[in-house]
């Protein structure tokens, strides 16, 4: 390998125009799951898909939609159908052409494959119509303001129909992205190489991209520093000062679209029948007991901005009115007094990671000062999921990677039948507002609805938001043009090595 680079460097010196074989190595936080966008669930999987597959539309760093496989799109007047004009001349990695039939096949697969995990995301789709070879029309059973954002992610990724028919897609994924699949060694690497026939090949500068899962943050950073990696995602916040001080590294954080918070069991089984679950004043007291600035400074090293609502500051739906409260122990005690309790006991469940543990310990200490007796219960993630669903918890520390459309950050978590509403909070008024926001496409009207819902949620507090989930990327100095996106994905357009 070393000899090879030396030779290419030498060759490069001789012919200044020669393009040397360049490999970008990216360190991931964990090993992705199945490489099939319709069946995949992991965040890191989405990162790999960002280079492997194209979607109908993409987003800008400002969270606006931008053409990718579709060059333009048009909503019908009643908001019940969405028509896409496809980009001409696009080829899949196997040479098959992209056309309306391929798009239809993909969206139909996402809706009907028995183990598709995209079903809920596309639940409003009634059918997909091939208008002509390059035009496809999606008909909806109800208006759906979230659809475009769903199609800007896994549900809108288009795979080669021929490869889908082959049956072993997850082993040999074939899409139409800038890089095509070479090999995967589970727990070790996923290798992609440049797709020469990509419609925008000139903007992609690497010959190969290698994704390496390295779960330990210390070891991941060590690999970047020793030159085995060029870019990594999710730096441990404790390493922020060291990275900033290292002149060979570039710290590229971005405020994300996700959040961290505490889900309170308000109506899920027996364990909801506690002062905390039953009395919103107790929950308000807990919120006042927590100092989010301390969490940001002590655990986050300044990259965990306090959150008081599910929408990040960059989102048009963020309302400064609902900014996080400052800590106020007296007020917390006062609220507990009004609620008629002076000691509130509960159990705080969190995933077994150093950061989650630190935050839990801090909340425990802060809560104690206001009259909360908090016991800590670390649980493996896989076990936590089931317990949460079954209502076997008082308070869970949760994190959400965030979705581009505001609906994805709020609807599943607080509506009565929300899939991710573990605390089973249920308020008919909130349901009505959020369901209406779902079908309202006008931004101003939609924001009003969210504001009204938030007004109620701020009082009821089924979820106490703690901080916005940042995406702290780090890359070596030789990587140029890397732009972090709030969705935490890695887009390699325009990224290159310094010459």
């Amino acid at each position: 390998m070393k000899r090879l680079t030396l030779m290419t460097v030498a060759a490069g010196l001789l012919m200044s125009t020669a393009v040397s074989a360049q490999t970008l190595r990216i360190g991931l936080n964990e090993d992705p799951d199945v490489l099939d966008p319709h069946r995949a669930r992991t965040f890191v999987g989405r990162i790999v898909f960002s280079s492997l597959c194209n979607k109908l539309v993409d987003i800008t760093p400002e969270l606006k939609f931008t053409p990718e496989l579709a060059t333009e799109w048009q909503w019908s007047d009643d908001g019940k159908s969405l028509t896409f004009k496809l980009r001409p001349g696009v080829k899949f990695h196997d040479g098959e052409p992209l056309n309306a039939a391929a798009v239809k096949a993909n969206i139909d697969r996402a809706r009907t494959l028995p183990d598709s995990l995209r079903k809920s995301e596309l639940s409003s789709v009634a059918d997909v119509e091939v208008v002509d070879d390059m035009t496809v029309k999606i008909n909806l059973s109800r208006a759906d303001a979230t659809l475009l954002s769903q199609l800007s992610d896994r549900a809108g990724m288009i795979m080669s129909p021929k490869a889908l028919a082959a049956g072993d897609f997850s082993q040999n994924p074939v899409c139409s992205g800038p890089y095509k699949f070479v090999e995967r060694v589970q727990n070790d690497r996923i290798v992609l190489e440049k797709f020469a026939d990509y419609w925008n090949a000139k903007d992609y500068n690497f010959d190969r991209v290698v994704f390496q899962p390295i779960p330990d943050t210390t070891v991941r950073l060590a690999n970047l520093r020793s030159g085995n990696l060029d870019l990594l995602e999710r730096l441990a916040p404790s390493d922020v000062p060291a990275v900033k001080a290292d002149s060979n590294l570039v710290f590229a954080p971005v405020s994300g679209i996700g959040y961290q918070g505490l889900t309170i069991n308000t109506q899920n089984g027996e364990r909801a029948k506690s002062p905390l679950g039953q009395d919103k004043r107790v929950r308000q007291a807990l919120e006042y007991a927590i100092d989010r600035d301390v969490i940001n400074e002590v655990v986050g090293n300044g990259i965990y901005p306090p959150a008081g609502q599910p929408f990040p500051e960059a989102s048009p739906y963020n309302n400064p009115k609902f900014a996080a409260n400052k800590r106020d122990v007296e007020k917390a005690k006062q609220l507990l007094k009004e609620a008629g309790v002076d000691k509130v006991k509960f159990e705080l469940t969190f995933g077994t990671s150093t950061t989650a543990q630190q935050i839990a310990e801090i909340i425990q200490a802060m809560g104690a000062e206001a009259g909360f007796e908090i016991s800590l219960r670390p649980t493996e993630f896989a076990a936590m999921q089931k317990e949460a669903q079954a209502g076997n918890f008082d308070v869970n520390v949760i994190g959400w990677s965030g979705r581009v459309d505001p609906d994805g950050n709020i609807h599943p978590f607080v509506t009565c039948k929300g899939a991710l509403n573990d605390g089973r909070y249920c308020n008919a008024e909130v349901d009505k507002l959020l369901n209406e926001a779902r079908v309202t496409s006008d931004e101003a009207k939609r924001k009003q609805l969210y504001d009204q819902a938030q007004e109620i949620l701020q009082q009821d507090l089924p979820i106490i938001y703690t901080y916005y989930q940042p995406w702290p990327f780090v890359h070596s100095k030789k990587v140029q043009g890397f732009k972090p996106y709030p969705d935490g994905m890695i887009r390699l357009k325009g990224v290159k090595f310094a010459s």
């Binding site: 210390t218 404790s238 060291a242 077994t352 150093t354 543990q357 200490a365 800590l376 670390p378 493996e380």
Partner: protein, 291 residues
């Protein structure tokens, strides 16, 4: 063959013991090991009364302070005094080591006794089950058990104890087979003493020395195992300290706050070394071949 043989053997015991003691005291590494273990056990017992700070309560004004006169070992990521946490953690770590071995012995020795003494299908069943448990890697067994029981220190002890149990079954069984053939045991059987009585009175005492040696060595392994389970998030749980869990947290701060890992790391190293030296010394002292 007769009662006299038994008496003669009993008479020999005290002398053997004192000889073993002399040998032990002459073995310098064993004495050093014993001293290290004694030191840490003392620290674990009286340490918490010496701790000048609360080992659990965070102090946000003194985050990750290096060692100083105020904080002898520095402070951790939540501003807690490391020295105090080390003293409290000693208790957790040593208990994790000792209790898990006690669990392993209490469960393992009876099975070994029964298998070795009765033989036949009882022996076959117990031996095959032991082989099976030994065939599954220790740490994987412990991880699965700890995950099943839920992450906590006491569950880690149970998991480590159960995983270490087969060693003691096998060791005891082997010893029993040797002792069983001795004259005095056959004599006891011949005069019709009940099996239970023979097991407890004649066989167990002869089986104990190697168990003691193995137990001491396994305490060392168990302390490391607790640290390893903590590394995977399955050991002692916050905010309570154990050396293993402290080391696990500290690994994220190896550069920013090296003292956070140096002290618990060194403490684990020393006490495990101590138990190993002690175990080796005991083995030499109790080994009849080396007289």
């Amino acid at each position: 063959m007769t009662a006299t043989a038994v008496v003669a053997d009993e008479a020999a015991l005290p002398k053997k013991r004192s000889r073993a003691l002399t040998k032990f005291l002459n073995n310098r590494s064993a004495v050093i090991g014993g001293a290290i273990v004694l030191f840490f056990v003392l620290a674990a017992v009286i340490g918490p009364y010496l701790a000048s700070y609360d080992p659990i309560k965070p102090s946000f004004t003194s985050i990750r302070k290096p060692p100083s006169e105020l904080f002898w070992f520095g402070t951790d990521e939540l501003g807690r005094d490391l020295f105090s946490r080390m003293l409290w953690g000693a208790r957790a770590s040593i208990m994790a080591g000792v209790i898990s071995v006690v669990i392993a012995i209490v469960l393992g020795v009876p099975f070994g006794l029964i298998a070795g003494y009765f033989g036949g299908w009882v022996d076959a069943t117990i031996s095959r089950a032991t082989d099976a448990m030994l065939a599954i890697p220790f740490l994987i067994f412990a991880i699965a058990l700890a995950a099943f029981l839920g992450p906590s220190l006491s569950n880690a002890m149970i998991a480590i104890g159960l995983s270490a149990m087969p060693i003691f079954v096998r060791l005891t069984r082997g010893q029993v087979l040797t002792v069983k053939a001795e004259d005095y045991v056959e004599g006891a059987r011949a005069i019709g003493l009940p099996d239970f009585w023979i097991l407890v009175r004649y066989i167990l005492p002869n089986v104990l020395p190697p168990i003691l040696v193995q137990g001491t060595l396994t305490v060392a392994t168990a302390i490391i195992a607790e640290a390893s389970l903590s590394f995977l998030g399955l050991g002692q749980q916050p905010p309570n300290p154990s050396w293993g869990s402290m080391l696990n947290t500290a690994k994220n701060f190896m550069e920013q706050a090296p003292w956070m890992s140096i002290f618990p790391g060194t403490a684990i190293f020393l006490i495990v070394l101590g138990f190993n030296l002690l175990g080796d010394g005991l083995r030499d002292a109790l080994d009849p071949r080396e007289q």
